[in-house]
Amino acid sequence: MPTMTLNDAVLELDAEGFLADANQWNEGVAEAIARENGIPVLTEDHWKVIRYMRDTWFASGQAPTIRSLGKESGVDVKTLYKLFPKGPAKLAAKIAGIPKPHGCI
């Protein structure tokens, strides 16, 4: 299993680089994953999305749909794609430390 090392903590990842255990996540982990994926600094808007994704995932066991992200995360769809150019499925979920979304929407 691939791993990433951050401040001496070894974190397990799946084959696509998503955290294997969402509980191993913390803000430092988010910042490290973001940097590796071309986002040097996480702004307040990034954090809104990240927190919303984590809250949804822990509450329902699923990543939020794009529609609910746009309506409820506090960031509209246009801004969402500016914040995470590689898309909410791939990048925002990865930074939020939750598994890759399995839904199609």
């Binding site: 691939p2 990433m4 990842l13 084959a15 696509e16 680089g17 994953i33 590796e36 749909t65 794009i66 529609r67 609910s68 746009g70 509209d76 769809v77 246009k78 969402l80 794609y81 150019p85 590689k86 898309g87 909410p88 499925a89 791939k90 990048l91 979304p101 199609c104 929407i105």
Partner: protein, 169 residues
């Protein structure tokens, strides 16, 4: 943290899809949604997306029409409704209503909202010049999400590039 590329059995790396060019040519609910879902899904994965609306597929992006798109209940064997019954008044509305209710529970937006969401996600939406001429339409007849009216030649040109694919629905 490294992510390895999937490999073919020959060991050659798979060329990832970097762009999809989706053609939506049908005007029924079940003819429009698949293309929209694929366009939205592409953007969610960070894949560039162009959507080209042609013939009755333009119903999805016509003002005043895209809120009223229905399931085809005649000539649609997958529904398992006998053709004679499928043609009864109100049948199409009823089946559409049932399907929309189910989609709402899955958080799949209605077509008009979905089109705007896809445009907001950075996908580019176009109407087909030949169809526009055939139905005597103008740019103003389309919702704002439609960028412009383009020719087939323009479409092929923008569909070019390595990792780019054309999907016809």
């Amino acid at each position: 943290m490294t992510m390895s590329m999937p490999e073919l059995e020959t060991g050659a790396a798979v060329q990832p899809i970097t762009k999809v060019n989706i053609i939506i040519s049908k005007g029924s609910l079940e003819g429009i949604y698949p293309g929209l879902i694929m366009a939205n899904g592409a953007r969610m994965e960070g894949i560039e997306a162009n959507v080209f609306f042609t013939f009755f597929g333009m119903e999805a992006v016509l003002k005043g029409k895209n809120e009223h798109i229905k399931v085809a209940t005649v000539g649609n064997p997958g529904l398992h409704i006998p053709t004679m019954l499928g043609g009864l008044p109100g049948m199409s509305s009823m089946v559409t209503h049932m399907m929309q209710k189910k989609m709402e529970t899955l958080d799949i937006p209605p077509i008009d909202e979905f089109v705007q969401l896809i445009a907001d996600s950075g996908a580019m939406l176009y109407a087909c010049k030949a169809s526009v001429d055939m139905f005597d339409l103008k740019q103003e007849d389309f919702v704002d999400a439609v960028d412009s009216i383009i020719t087939v030649g323009d479409f092929y040109q923008m569909a070019g590039g390595e990792g780019s694919h054309i999907i016809f629905t």
